[in-house]
């Protein structure tokens, strides 16, 4: 039975699924060890996210930048690149989208909203293009350069806010309504959550990534370069240009994630004393989602559920929210060590076959 399953189409889904289940299980063990009630804890997460509209709305709201960050990481990964710089690209996108909205105040919504969104996407793309160029031209490893670009983005945006767009509360002014993704209807539907129209942007971005990677000649090249730069070069593809493009697209998705925070959730950008962390979570989302559009959505939904539900878990079941971070860490750890899960499965399959 196990054997048949392993040869089947659903097998690739197995490692992420089992990681989630085991992650929740081990998390429960830790809660027990700490004297908390795991069933009550998970129940409170479930009930809040699925039965209380406010938390449902907040979960989807949390999902939006997580999914976009996950898409950014996944896209680069398909070309064999490890974009650790999603965080920085997100900050760049966030700032530029907010800045564009404020500077072009007075434009009609039909122009200003798309302009602000695209400005954020473009800023992220540029922030991704730089390490892409360094990699393609000078073979600078993208992990190093994107990490450094994160710091540059963090402190540059802080500087720019402080000196050019500062207002009371250590932040930029609020963006004009014409640039806002916020929606009274959505908020009302979800009893006052900050849910905004950005979920449509995330959906479109997921579709776009799927389309580029699997339906276009560009995606074919990007994937070819990702699997085997040597063979791609032998086939006459321009490896450097594909690396550059991959990082640019990736940065664009990250920039969109930032724009969603700026134009949707917060309506401004604050001076960040440290990284916001959404870009880094994107790495985990992509990993759990196996670098596919659909997978990224599911993984983003899971992490958003745990994060949002973690708040009620704290208040209702008295379990500290840090435990949810442990559960998330466990899941990522288990996905990362998927090798072990596969090994165990193979053993089981062999035993089954002997009988």
């Amino acid at each position: 039975m196990i054997q048949r399953f392993m040869n089947g189409k659903l097998y690739p889904l197995f490692v992420p699924l089992i990681s989630v289940v085991l992650g929740l299980f081990f998390g429960a063990l830790i809660m027990l060890a700490g004297g908390y009630h795991p069933i009550l804890a998970y129940q409170s997460i479930f009930e809040s996210v699925f039965l209380q509209p406010y938390y449902t709305g907040e979960t989807i709201r949390t999902m939006i930048p997580l999914v976009l960050s996950g898409l950014a990481v996944a896209f680069a990964f398909r070309t064999g690149l490890f974009n650790i710089g999603v965080e920085g690209q997100l900050l760049a996108g966030w700032f530029v989208s907010v800045a564009a909205a404020i500077l072009c105040d007075g434009w009609p919504k039909i122009l200003l909203l798309p302009l602000s969104i695209l400005a954020g996407a473009a800023a992220g793309a540029v922030w991704g293009l730089i390490p892409g160029f360094l990699k393609a031209r000078f073979k600078v490893h993208e992990v190093i350069s994107t990490i450094m670009m994160n710091y540059i983005a963090l402190y540059t945006t802080n500087y720019l806010i402080k000196h050019y767009l500062y207002t009371e509360g250590e932040r930029t002014p609020t963006i004009p309504d014409a640039a806002s993704l916020a929606s009274a209807t959505l908020s009302h539907l979800t009893q006052g959550s900050r849910l905004h129209w950005g979920f449509i942007v995330a959906l479109l971005a997921g579709l776009l990534m799927w389309f580029i990677l699997w339906q276009t000649t560009r995606g074919y090249e990007l994937r070819a370069v990702g699997f085997s730069p040597d063979a791609a070069g032998y086939a006459g593809m321009n490896v450097g240009r594909n690396i550059l493009l991959s990082m640019t697209f990736s940065g664009m998705f990250a920039g969109l994630a930032g724009a969603m925070e700026g134009l949707g959730t917060y309506q401004y950008m604050m001076i960040n004393p440290a990284f916001v962390g959404i870009g880094f979570s994107g790495i985990a989302v992509a990993l759990l989602g196996m670098n596919t559009s659909l997978g990224v959505f599911l993984a983003g939904a899971l992490f958003a559920t745990l994060q949002t539900g973690g708040l009620t878990m704290q208040s209702e079941a008295g379990v500290p929210i840090e435990l949810i971070n442990i559960v998330i860490a466990l899941i990522i750890f288990l996905v990362g060590s998927s090798y072990i899960i596969q090994l165990v499965l193979n053993r089981l399959a062999k035993r089954g076959e002997k009988r």
């Binding site: 054997q3 699997w214 339906q215 276009t216 000649t217 560009r218 995606g219 074919y220 090249e221 994937r223 070819a224 699997f227 085997s228 040597d230 063979a231 791609a232 070069g233 032998y234 086939a235 006459g236 593809m237 321009n238 076959e353």
Partner: protein, 507 residues
């Protein structure tokens, strides 16, 4: 008669396949026993059982008359069985001596005694005529030398029975000859050898007896002195094998490839091709013979636009392609079967369907306005799979999961389907079994008959001699001479390959 190794009625099953079915192998003491069969016939499985990596489902193993159970490689070592792997298990940064003693280092007072190790390695090397310098780092010695280090590793551990797994796959002709001598010497010194191979020539050169395996079953064990190559080949493949020979008349047409004064640098920025001139015509197969590392790789990479041309000119179909990008050269009429099909010829994690359009995906009918047409791609792949007899469950199968021979068929199908004016084939049959080699040779000959130009680079002299209309011998980046296969022999070629031109007149 005592046997060094006797494996009786071995059976081993893997999910969906019987790898060994009632296999009996008897290796006499002091003989070289060849284990002969196509890829996937079950040779490696059998040897992995002997070496303790797999457990047999049924059957018995006797070592020097004693029934044994070999539970792991350490146990095999203890019984005096050593394996010289096809892919070397050496640490590049370590010296030869360090690699050899690794795992059972000589110590003095609890400290590693390197002097002792070097002494022991040197002694062993002298005794078996291996000529290995124990103090050199592995990364600094040739592949042939590295293999000798592997041999020494087994000798150091006291092995009496040595298993050689396809030992010549990675060697040059001269290294192969040296290895054969080493094997003979080992046997003279009292060792027994099992030689796993699918090359007939080697079997007839060194082995005493040969066991043929096909589809997991033993077809028979024969004395080499009492058989001949075509009979053995027939046993292995299960049908008569015709060695394809270039016997159609030589009627060269227009110049397709013209290389003039070409100079190309290798990775160390040293000229590997020097002022080389070469012409290939339509309707001919030009073979390039030479020892590995004399500029062949750099020459074909330069023609394919993958390596910078330092000096000189390359014309394809009358068009100057010097310094052009690979894509432009491919569009100008180049087909290229690269030496390393897994690294350069295929994207292993792409499906067959995706691999079949690796150079044409951006053009109609496979794409329109940058959007792929998967249906047309699949249709094309299905057609080529059938025409080239690629054994695969479907066109959606990943290239990675095909056997070596079928991977090569995918590459060849793709290149030939574009009907290029010039087909460059670098080592097109390396590591393939007889059936696949026969197929590929026939395909190359067919290209000639279609009036295409074929440039064949190979280290296998037989392949060059059988297929070429003209043979260009390359030495240190220059063409030493161009000879006709009918007017030359292996001896003359061998001398030319070693850079001795005067050989021409003497031969």
């Amino acid at each position: 008669m005592s046997y060094a190794i006797e494996m009786r009625h071995i059976r081993k099953e893997f999910p969906g396949i019987v790898a060994n079915d009632d296999v009996t192998l008897q290796v006499k003491e002091g003989e070289i026993h060849a284990l002969f069969g196509e890829n996937g016939a079950g040779k490696s499985t059998l040897m992995n059982i002997l070496f303790g990596l797999y457990q047999p489902d049924a059957g018995e193993i006797y070592v020097k008359g004693q029934k044994v159970k070999i539970s792991d490689p350490n146990e095999a070592n203890r019984l005096g069985i050593g394996m010289v792997h096809q892919h070397f298990m050496l640490i590049d940064k370590f010296t030869v001596a360090e690699n050899i003693v690794l795992g059972s280092e000589p110590t003095r007072g609890g400290k590693l005694d390197m002097n002792q190790a070097v002494r022991m390695v040197r002694e062993l090397s002298d005794r078996y005529g291996l000529d290995v310098d124990p103090l050199k780092k592995v990364e600094d010695i040739t592949i042939g030398m590295q293999q000798r280090v592997e041999i020494l590793k087994t000798l150091y551990r006291g092995s009496d029975i040595l298993i050689f797994d396809e030992p010549t796959a990675v060697l040059t002709p001269i290294e192969i000859k040296e290895l054969m001598d080493i094997m003979k010497r080992l046997v003279r010194e009292g060792k027994s050898i099992i030689l796993i191979t699918h090359k007939l020539k080697e079997i007839f050169e060194v082995s005493d007896r040969c066991t043929v395996i096909r589809l997991g079953k033993v077809i028979g064990t024969v004395n080499i002195s009492e058989t001949n190559p075509s009979r053995l080949a027939e046993m292995m493949v299960g049908r008569k094998v015709r060695t394809p020979v270039n016997d159609t008349p030589y009627a060269p047409k227009e110049k397709v490839l013209e290389v003039k004064g070409l100079t190309v640098l290798d990775n160390r920025k040293v000229p590997a091709v020097r002022q080389l001139d070469l012409e290939v015509h339509g309707g001919e197969i030009l073979g390039i013979a030479g020892v590995d590392g004399n500029g062949q790789t750099e020459l074909i990479e330069a023609i394919a636009g993958l390596r910078h041309v330092q000096e000189g000119q390359i014309k394809l179909n009358g068009q100057d392609i010097t310094g052009r990008r690979t894509r432009k050269i491919v569009e100008a009429g180049l087909g290229y079967i690269p030496e390393d099909r897994q690294k350069h010829g295929l994207i292993l994690d792409f499906t067959i369907s995706e691999n079949m359009v690796l150079q044409t995906y951006y053009r109609g009918p496979y794409a329109r306005a940058g959007v792929l047409n998967h249906k047309v791609m699949a249709r094309k792949a299905k057609q080529l799979i059938q025409a080239f007899d690629v054994r695969t469950p479907s066109e959606k199968t990943l290239a990675r999961s095909l056997s070596g021979g079928n991977q090569q068929k995918v590459v060849i199908a793709r290149e030939m389907d574009r009907s290029p004016a010039l087909l460059m084939a670098a080592q097109p049959t390396r590591g393939l079994d007889l059936g696949a080699i026969e197929f590929i040779h026939n395909q190359l000959l067919e290209e000639k008959q279609k009036g295409k130009a074929v440039l064949l680079v190979s280290f296998e002299l037989d392949e060059i001699l059988h297929l070429s209309d003209r043979i260009a011998v390359i030495y240190e980046g220059r063409i030493m001479d161009i000879v006709k296969p009918k007017e030359t022999n292996e001896n003359e070629l061998g001398l030319l390959m070693a850079g001795r031109k005067e050989a021409r007149r003497q031969a």
